[in-house]
Symmetry: C2
Subunit: 378 residues, 2 copies
């Protein structure tokens, strides 16, 4: 096991009717800005629950944060916050609303160009406190310090990470997910699955507890993901998917083990350049990454095949192929396409993505690796 | 899944040579009191590592905290702290040193009788900040707000819990455990196993991730525990046992599920009255608790039997018995005795333990239940 530090101070409040606890978690005299997305919270009752819970608060609103939150939109919120002297941000929505709110929180008192926080990982000294009401299980942002933001003007989708943008608390009421469209549930399950894979499908590090934990999350996603689609109002199913997605990226399964993240990095380019949903890009890219980096992922593919999918027969080579196929088939069983052609994309998409990594000098995601990965995914 | 809150702000610093990082974690101008136990840290190099790491600090010492830390000893530390105006406590040792230090931290500014913190769960408003250098994997106290303290004068062993005594940080260097006697390793593995069981071996709550996580910890303890005895200087084995013990009682696997703790409560009395090690009492008591509460633990005993011990054949009744036997045999394989007679105790111990629960009005640990449990363990 490698040395590690783990420090995750996010308070999770999980369960039915928990939005009502909001007022206990926000300083009584703080001027609060509620951030949200395209307005689904006004249709599913969450907006009313938040307003009711914060009836006594000085509460402003900023809606319209897009999926793959735009830097440009976030900067409008920053302007409002500075003008109104907001002291607390409450992100109400899915991963994009939370991620955008994290950039907003960091940018408010940042002296330089806030895009540098993302593009150059510029350090920042403080951030406004954030609370979260999560309505979509997927990204894990509710229990980490990560944020992914898109600059619409340049079609760049980039991430930053800081303990300063850990939410102070995150409220997770599985009932708020009942009204999600099936595509968002599928995307969320795929996203959580791939989060686990980025931290697990790597050379063994003699860390059996981390391995078992990662496999635990995968098993819950495989067992409960399809049920979340077939029985959308089954509370326990939604609760289990929601908790699994949070646990997939709160740092715990990364303790003491190597990580990858190339599926995410390559996938981000497909979103930035072609508008695929985040989860869709992951389902397309990951089988290609696994086959391209097959040698270093071999032992863990065997292990996952056996422990997660119950693959026992055949040679090790055959079992590894079967494990990759089983993963792709699981994504497809959720209704998520896994080939570029299914999204109307052909081989012309490959070179522009590869070129984006030419400048980046990533330790192992080279243009040539990107070409190898995506050529398999046509 | 039941509603829950989870908030664990303890920073874990894990790995080789991590004691050297101490100075980064303690406020530079704080007067520090290092608390420790019987002096093993002076033989295994830990004391020197701490002194070297804190060379620039105003550092006082308080040694002699016993296994099953005595309230009376803790009060001497409180006196010293008040006199010397200590601002930070650094507990260096195993669970007893950390637990004692938690009571010390809470008692320093407590206006009433500090024993009430334990005996009456009296609320307290503040506590001195605590840091931990852990040298014995067992109790999980390094990542929770729990403390168990013994009053020597009245032979009472009782616990309290508060978020105010969460350690600010805990440093876990598996190499510090190389010199532990086998009995302490065995006790620690049993303790961690039973911590998991108290949170897992209960009626199913439709919380598959929590179940898989609990089983993950059990499997690691079963796989790595015996190796920790046979290969005491295998770094990865010690690291895996240490991390498993921490994860066994940091609140995570308790999220959204019912808990028991009767094995601990009954076991505490055997320590308080007869001086058995904590781990020894658990190995004696738990099989009796499982058989006494067999109906409510039936489904999970079956599940653990299958998933953890690979028990497949026979009727459900037989598999449940086999699961209990497999657990007891695991304890015995670590060299831990599991019957009262093996500790020279007979049926005369039962009634005094039962009587202690007569006054306590515990929701389900009644004198009659205690009698049933212990009669099976002669």
């Amino acid at each position: 096991m490698e040395n590690f530090s783990y420090h995750n101070p996010v308070k999770i409040i999980f369960g039915r009717q928990t939005i009502a606890q909001l007022a206990n978690e926000i300083p009584a005299n703080a001027k609060v800005l509620m951030t949200y997305g395209g307005g689904s919270i006004k249709k599913n009752g969450v907006y009313e629950q938040v307003k009711a819970a914060l009836a006594g608060f000085d509460l402003l609103e900023f809606g319209g944060i897009e999926p793959n939150p735009h830097y440009e939109t976030c900067m409008k919120a920053v302007e409002l916050i500075r003008k109104e002297k907001v002291a607390f941000l409450l992100a109400v929505g899915g991963g994009s609303v939370v991620d955008g709110t994290k950039l907003i929180a960091a940018a408010v008192s940042f002296a330089g160009n806030p895009w540098d926080i993302v593009a150059r990982r510029a350090p920042f000294a403080s951030a406004l406190p954030i609370g979260v009401v999560l309505t979509l299980p997927a990204t894990g942002t509710e229990m980490n310090g990560n944020s992914v933001v898109t600059r619409a003007a340049t079609q760049e989708k980039l991430s930053f990470s800081s303990p300063l943008v850990y939410p102070k608390f995150s409220i997770l009421d599985p009932e708020t997910t009942y009204s999600l469209p099936p595509r968002q549930i599928s995307n969320g399950v795929v996203d959580a699955f791939v989060h686990v894979a980025e931290q697990y499908m790597n050379p063994p590090a003699n860390a059996p507890l981390q391995d078992y934990y990662a496999e635990s999350i995968l098993k819950v996603l495989i067992e409960e993901g399809p049920r979340a689609l077939s029985a959308p109002q089954d509370y326990n199913v939604r609760a289990n998917v929601m908790w699994a997605a949070t646990m997939a990226l709160n740092g715990l399964i990364a303790c003491g083990v190597p990580q990858d993240w190339s599926t995410h990095e390559i996938g981000h380019e497909l979103t930035a350049l072609h508008g695929l949903d985040h989860g869709q890009t992951l389902a397309v890219v990951m089988p290609g990454v696994w086959r391209t980096l097959r040698a270093q992922k071999f032992d863990k593919l065997l292990q996952m095949g056996k422990r997660v999918f119950g693959i026992a027969g055949g040679s090790p080579e055959e079992r590894v192929e079967a494990a990759i196929d089983a993963t792709e088939n699981f994504f497809r069983s959720l209704g998520t396409k896994t080939k570029l052609a299914e999204y109307g994309l052909d081989e012309t998409v490959i070179e522009p993505v590869a070129q984006r990594f030419a400048a980046r000098q990533h330790p192992f995601i080279t243009p040539d690796m990107v070409r190898k990965v995506l050529r398999q995914r046509l």
